[in-house]
């Protein structure tokens, strides 16, 4: 009985130790920064940044080889998050050029080939073989992969329109000019019996 317990304990300790040592020696090197950065990226593997996927982009970011503004679908929010984590300052004014876009299918041109559906990593396109497809605009994050594979060029990337709910005041200009406003037009004033 004692021998059995003793031998099993000894085996446990020895094998446990072995595993522990192996985990140390053979550990896959993973940069914690990389993991963190990857978690900030959208993870749709769209490849718009020029890397194969988000993991590769995160690695490049961690090495400092890519700008924080690399992710178009992530937009300003992701760029700011990355900049904060990496402790770099970023000029987001040029990022304003990347207005958020979404895909739209010209239904008259769609032949129902389902290629775009296979390409979409967020399941944002609905339709079936030989039936017209359409994009769920809310789900689309504007990676544009569908537009590349469409055989009839039926997919266009449109700018997400600014709605009343999404609009906000612009920043006051630094020289302290008063807020922009739309003064009533002269012709309007004239129309209502200006004395």
């Amino acid at each position: 009985m004692l021998i059995a317990v003793g031998s099993l304990t000894a085996m446990g300790v020895a094998l446990g130790g072995l595993l522990g040592v192996a985990a140390r020696l053979l550990a896959v090197e993973e940069d914690p920064l990389e993991v963190e950065l990857q978690a900030m990226l959208p993870g749709s593997q769209c490849g718009q940044c020029g890397f194969v996927g988000c993991a590769q982009a995160a690695a490049a970011l961690a090495r400092g080889e890519a700008p924080v503004t690399l992710c178009p679908p992530g937009g300003k929010a992701v760029a700011e998050q990355l900049a904060r984590r990496l402790g770099v300052t970023v000029d987001l004014s040029d990022h304003a050029l990347h207005v958020p876009v979404y895909a739209s299918i010209d239904e008259a041109l769609c032949i129902g080939c389902t290629r775009c559906i296979k390409e979409c990593s967020v399941d944002g396109i609905i339709g079936a073989s030989k039936l017209m497809h359409t994009v769920v605009a809310d789900a689309c994050h504007g990676c544009g992969k569908c537009a590349l594979v469409c055989p009839t060029d039926a997919i266009r990337m449109l700018e997400v329109p600014v709605t009343l709910a999404a609009w906000h005041w612009p920043k006051p200009s630094i020289d302290g000019a008063s807020p922009p406003r739309t003064a009533p037009r002269v012709e309007d004033a004239g129309r209502t019996a200006l004395a």
Binding site: K76, A77, V122, D123, K171, D175, A183, P184, R185
Partner: protein, 484 residues
């Protein structure tokens, strides 16, 4: 009743005398009515009519869509001549979907829901339903759907309904006139709302500079022991929900919480009247009282205008402009918004239309901050505007958020008091908007991430299934062979 002091605040020139003695006049029916789908906080309403439809007065033409939204009704009978996009009464001037009605001059009512003869005998849900069906939103300017606010009684224990008749914004007199002319209706509406909320007590708060309104409201409320009419000191921003609650109860609403957490719900006097009309008469919210004033208006007036009348219709009714207006404002001069033009319609939240002259707006270039600290001492929310603005100027929105920019109520007192004319409140409006936009983008990224994960999981599952069928296949062939 003991009142409690509020922090900070300012005493601007009120300039209410221009319209305070003018009886509410009804606007003659305009040639066209423009009814936007978004006149409230929340999701835009869903359109129910199309071009060419005949509509009756009071008919629902846009249905609420989602939890926080409101119905919109035809303000008169006529024909829908277009469903189009026109600039919204909003500082952005962005176009928004709008229903254009050509009145047929008959002003024919549709079949209205039956009046509720005894609102105190039905369940609160019936009242809430009626308020929601009538498209009532907060008419003090915030335009939050009133029915949603009446549901606060379900989750919170409400001790008091505060009826807000403070009207602390300069120029505006629409609530003052409403209290003088329709005191009974306001009191009745307040009683109905208090019943729906389960609030035992009603406090009507009116600033001391409206003695006639105080008097008529006191007379109207005298038969109801649970109603108290209180004169609150004249101070801007007394009419803010949070500050009025503080003045009456002595308790400050915590950051990012509701006054309902303190057992208080605040409703505007015009909302109370709209509730009275909806419950007692079955009448939806299709008109409102608007103060048209300012130095550039020939004959300032208080006008009962149908929702959808254009600003130009109202200004024409006031005799047009007496001089060139420097700016046009919807609401009060402190918190109101610049209008993009004269073609925008009157909506449910339009309390005033002001055409101000250059003297009245005193606009000039901003000078550097002289560190006088005036903005800090007058901030009614206890913030430090000078510090917040410095953070925002250097794009440190997060720093500003830490200092509490989200607790700013945008009352504009800091901009008003600043001797250097720094547009402080504009900085805060920008920061609040930008922080909200960031949050929205962040949510979108999170959503994309979860969609991608779900997609990958599905692909994996399909691949596993396929692998399983492939693995089974040899077996089936052998069985086939055996059978063969």
């Amino acid at each position: 009743m003991k009142l409690f002091p509020i922090r900070g605040g300012i005493h601007p020139e009120y300039r209410k005398e221009r319209t305070s003695e003018r009886v509410i006049e009804t606007l003659p029916l305009p040639h066209r009515l423009y009814i936007p789908l978004q006149q409230h906080i929340g999701a835009p309403a869903e359109i129910l009519v199309s071009e060419g439809d005949q509509v009756k007065k009071g008919q629902v033409i846009a249905r609420r869509h989602g939890q926080i939204s409101a119905h919109h009704h035809a303000s008169t009978s006529g024909r829908v001549i277009a469903v189009t996009e026109i600039p919204a009464p909003h500082p952005s001037g962005l176009p928004q979907p709008t229903i254009v009605i050509e009145p047929d001059e008959r002003d024919e009512w549709c079949v209205l829901p039956d009046p509720i003869p005894d609102p105190f005998a039905v369940t609160p849900e019936v009242i809430e339903d009626r308020v929601a069906e009538s498209g009532i939103v907060g008419m003090g300017g915030a335009t939050f759907p009133a029915a949603v606010k009446l549901q606060l009684g379900i989750r919170h224990r409400i001790d008091a309904l505060l009826v807000n008749g403070a009207e602390c914004e300069p120029y505006l007199t629409c609530d003052d006139r409403l209290m003088r002319e329709y005191a009974d209706e306001i009191i009745d509406g307040a009683r109905i709302m208090a019943y729906a909320l389960g609030a035992p007590r009603i406090v009507v708060a009116i600033e001391e500079n409206k003695p006639q309104a105080l008097e008529t409201m006191r007379v109207a409320a005298s038969t109801f022991p649970q109603i108290e009419v209180v004169a609150v000191p004249v101070k801007y921003p007394m009419g803010s929900e949070r500050h009025l609650t503080l003045a009456i109860t002595g308790r400050e609403t915590p950051a990012r919480r509701l006054t309902a957490d303190l057992g208080v719900v605040v409703h505007n006097v015009a909302t109370a009247r709209a509730v009275h009309q909806a419950v007692r008469l079955g009448r939806p919210l299709i008109d409102r009282v608007v103060t048209v004033s300012g130095g550039a208006i020939r004959e300032p007036k208080n006008i009962a205008a149908p929702i959808g009348a254009r600003v130009s219709d109202l200004i024409d009714f006031c005799g047009g402009f007496s001089q060139r207006p420097e700016c046009l404002i919807q609401g009060g001069p402190m918190m109101g918004i610049h209008l993009p033009g004269l073609d925008v319609p009157v909506v449910k939240g339009t309390s005033g239309i002001l055409a101000l002259t250059a003297d009245e707006i005193n606009e000039r270039q901003a000078d550097p901050c002289i560190r006088c600290g005036s903005c800090v001492s007058i901030c009614a929310c206890g913030l430090t505007p000078v510090e917040l603005a410095a953070h925002i100027r250097h794009d440190d929105l997060e720093g500003a958020a830490k200092l509490g920019v989200m607790d700013c109520v945008s009352c504009g007192s800091c901009s008003w008091v600043c001797p250097s004319h720094i547009p402080l409140v504009h900085y805060f409006n920008y920061a609040k908007g930008a922080l909200h936009a960031q949050e929205r983008e962040h949510r979108k990224t999170e959503r994309t991430k979860s969609l991608v994960e779900a997609h990958a999981a599905r692909l994996e599952r399909i691949a596993a299934q396929r692998a399983a069928t492939v693995a089974r296949k040899p077996k089936t062939t052998t069985i086939d062979e055996i059978q063969a």
